[in-house]
């Protein structure tokens, strides 16, 4: 398959991008607003072309444990769900992190808590960036704001997961999952051969040839001294990721007197708010974290030294604002505008809230 320009939903783009990436397997369970990922994969029948396995599991719990099994074999495997389903997957995600296994998990967030709503939200920021399951671990968390990024982050997520042997998450919201946009799908590349997997993933469970010792993927260690060493190794990996993999976008920050920090779909709404603000002489810029973990702390810290105030805009009650406050270190006021429960504000609401919080911004 060559590069191709298509009009499609973000969820569909993820499915197509995974097939073209050469993913080995997908294990999912239906939940709104992300079921198109499973539906598209079933309709595309990649097992007939690339040999990719697609399976509708009996539960989110089973699906993430299938991912654990596939990842232990060195395969490029992924799952997707939405907020309540991601909660169910947390035990398995913790095992994948502890097993130092590469895997991709997609959360197309809906409003919670509980069964909540099927409408867009960003209320799983804490869960995604601070661990989520039990134990000291992190996921690499990518936050797409366009259908193009939904497609691009599949390959990026897999590449980072394999580079660091740690699970990566695409933390999307219902808007990016459901809206249709133009997307450039990458050319297809072949799945890795068993020989390539054995070479690139010498730890993988493949069936033990006589030439090596058994490969065992386990997360159990009853010796506390050893368990601490494992933890230290995980933390070294996380420090390396923090050094190398911070990604963010800046928009009109060069002359900005105020800063908005927003991720995902709401960051695009904020761009419009910023354009409207600037037409009224208010110099606002935007930082859009692309990696929510590792967080672009240093970039926000630098900008906080030359702006008068920061507003964090999120589709939640105020979660990322905690990381922004750590970056700003109290230099300037940090305020929050958020809508919850599946409500998405328009650019005017964002701007009104900004002006209410920073009345001096109007010269």
């Amino acid at each position: 398959m060559e590069e191709e320009v298509r009009l499609m939903k973000g969820n569909e783009a993820i499915a197509h991008a995974a097939i073209r990436y050469g993913a080995d397997g997908y294990f999912g369970y239906p939940i709104t607003p992300q079921s198109e990922i499973l539906e598209t994969l079933e309709a595309e029948m990649p097992w007939e072309t690339t040999g990719m396995v697609v399976l509708q599991a009996e539960s989110e719990v089973a699906a993430i444990n299938m991912v654990y099994g596939g990842a232990a074999c060195g395969k490029a495997v992924f799952t997707s769900s939405s907020s309540p389903g991601i909660s169910l997957k947390q035990e398995g995600i913790s095992y994948i992190a502890a097993g130092e296994l590469p895997a991709l998990i997609i959360n197309v967030m809906r409003g919670g808590p509980g069964l909540g709503t099927i409408h867009p939200s960003q209320s799983d920021y804490f869960q995604a960036t601070k661990g989520g399951g039990h134990g000291d671990y992190h996921l690499i968390v990518l936050a797409p704001s366009t259908v193009q990024e939904m497609a691009d982050f599949v390959g990026l997520g897999f590449d980072l997961a394999f580079k660091y042997r740690t699970p990566a998450m695409i933390l999307a919201d219902g808007i990016v999952g459901q809206m249709m946009e133009k997307v450039v799908l990458p050319p297809a590349r072949p799945r890795r051969t068993p020989e390539q997997i054995a070479e690139q993933c010498p730890w993988a469970v493949t069936g033990r040839p006589a030439t090596r010792r058994p490969n065992v993927i386990t997360t159990l260690e009853l010796d506390s001294a050893m368990m601490e060493k494992h933890n230290e190794r995980y933390q070294q990996t996380y420090r390396l990721i923090e050094q190398n993999e911070v990604r963010y976008d800046e928009y009109m920050t060069s002359d900005a007197e105020y800063l908005i920090v927003a991720f995902g779909s709401i960051a695009r709404i904020c761009q419009k708010s910023i354009e409207d603000a600037r037409s009224r002489g208010i110099k606002v810029g935007l930082i859009r974290p692309i990696t929510l973990w590792p967080f672009p702390t240093e970039a926000i810290r630098q900008l906080s030294r030359r702006v008068k105030g920061v507003m964090v805009v999120e589709l939640n009650a105020g979660q990322m604002i905690e990381d922004v406050r750590i970056a700003v270190e109290g230099r300037v006021p940090v305020c929050h505008f958020g809508r919850m429960g599946g409500i998405v504000p328009n650019p005017q609401e964002v701007l009104d809230s900004f002006i209410a919080d920073f009345p001096d911004s109007r010269h």
Binding site: C73, Y95, G207, R208
Partner: protein
């Protein structure tokens, strides 16, 4: 004739399978796990499957199965071994994939995964150790605990009105179209050990042939959990466990 005359290679009739390593097992005296581990190692060796076998270890006493049988292993979360095995087998159908699970793992927390893997006719073998108790956590009630049986969480004996009935999950699994071979065995006598070995061989063979899901239940002793000597435990198992969980093939749709 001196002992040296007897201990000669040509007189050797039995040996430790090479796949069973020299690590000291952590299992208690009289526990069935060690025997079943040895049978798995023997069968894999005899079938030439050492380089194709992938074992999925449970949570429970057998969580450390990977310390004793020198093949590739994945240790699963509690009850999730059949889901893990599903992916491993589907991603590479040339492998021989088996789970090794206890009664708490398979019949309580992992019922959903076990039933659905079997219902999808996943080409995996499930080795199911049923000793009617949670061994590793210190002897709590299992779904398979017999009525009246004392455990640390049924200190006055299991009562149906409080705890429900003992779950014969293997019988349940015979009802699923996806299972091709379901059998219940034990390892308390040499004859029983030989039958269990034949059952494991059949299950592994079914996995390679793509015949569907095989379940080999091994009714087992937990002398420590039952608070008995190994000899008492064997006798108690014969008199009580076999009444609720009688031995023999429950289903076999595969032509021998």
């Amino acid at each position: 004739m001196t002992p040296q005359d007897i201990i000669r290679p040509e007189n050797k009739v039995y040996a430790r399978p090479a796949l069973l390593n020299e690590n000291n097992m952590h299992y208690c005296p009289g526990c069935s796990h060690g025997v079943v581990h040895k049978l798995i190692a023997e069968v894999l060796e005899e079938m030439g499957l050492a380089d194709k076998a992938i074992g999925i270890a449970p949570v429970g006493c057998a969580v450390f199965a990977y310390n004793y049988v020198d093949i590739d292993w994945i240790e699963a979360a509690h009850g999730r071994a059949p889901a893990v095995a599903t992916a491993v087998k589907r991603l590479d159908p040339t492998r021989m994939v088996f789970t090794y699970q206890g009664d708490g793992d398979l019949a309580a927390i992992g019922t959903c995964e076990a039933i659905h893997a079997a219902n999808r006719a996943e080409n995996i073998a499930i080795i199911f150790i049923n000793n009617g108790i949670y061994g590793m956590t210190g002897g709590q009630m299992a779904p398979t605990t017999l009525e009246g049986m004392k455990t640390s969480t049924t200190p006055y004996g299991r009562r149906v009105e409080l705890n429900g009935y003992p779950l014969a999950i293997t019988n349940l699994m015979t009802q699923l179209d996806g299972t091709c071979y379901v059998t219940r065995q034990a390892v308390h006598t040499p004859a029983a050990v030989r039958k269990t070995k034949a059952a494991i061989r059949q299950a592994f063979s079914n996995s390679m042939d793509g015949s569907g899901t095989s379940v080999v239940e091994v009714v087992s002793t937990c002398a420590s959990g039952w608070k008995m000597t190994p000899v008492q435990a064997n006798k108690w198992m014969e008199e009580n466990m076999f009444a609720k969980y009688p031995l023999g093939d429950l289903k076999n749709t595969v032509q021998q």
